[in-house]
Symmetry: C2
Subunit: 84 residues, 2 copies
């Protein structure tokens, strides 16, 4: 089945982490040195970030990149189970 909507899951996680910090997309974009519209696309799963983008975002969110990825794994794993 291969799923491969990693980008959607990443978007969910990113939005959750951002909101938890009561930060706007605009501010996140500014601080991470990325474009506001791009953050929007990321959260909606319309783009897959490169590894360097993940590092930038994690830094601004104050977590380790690996923790961000780990969150994605967890959700992805739940969804795979729900699939059989």
């Amino acid at each position: 089945m291969e799923i491969d909507n990693i980008e959607s899951v990443f978007g969910e996680v990113l939005q959750e982490m951002r909101k938890k910090r009561k930060m706007s997309q605009e501010k996140l974009a500014l601080q991470s040195n990325l474009d506001r519209t791009y953050i929007s696309m990321l959260e909606r799963g319309a783009r897959k970030p490169t590894i360097t983008t993940v590092f930038k975002l994690a830094q601004v969110l104050g977590i380790k990149p690996s923790q961000l990825i780990e969150k994605v794994e967890e959700i992805l794993f739940e969804k795979e189970i729900a699939e059989n």
Copy 2:
């Protein structure tokens, strides 16, 4: 100083993990559904993978993507310390 040779560090880690498994670039490429020449470029730090590429590689290497990223963080952190 901003460093930003995340791709070089990722390359180091990828190569280390691959060799530890006594796997050729060719086999890694085949199993991860990526191009052999691209694996070569990744290991030499000439390309930055997207998040989905990281997931593919980690799966073939038999580790969690977050663990792969964590290794990168560690080495990156050592290098930042060595810099002041």
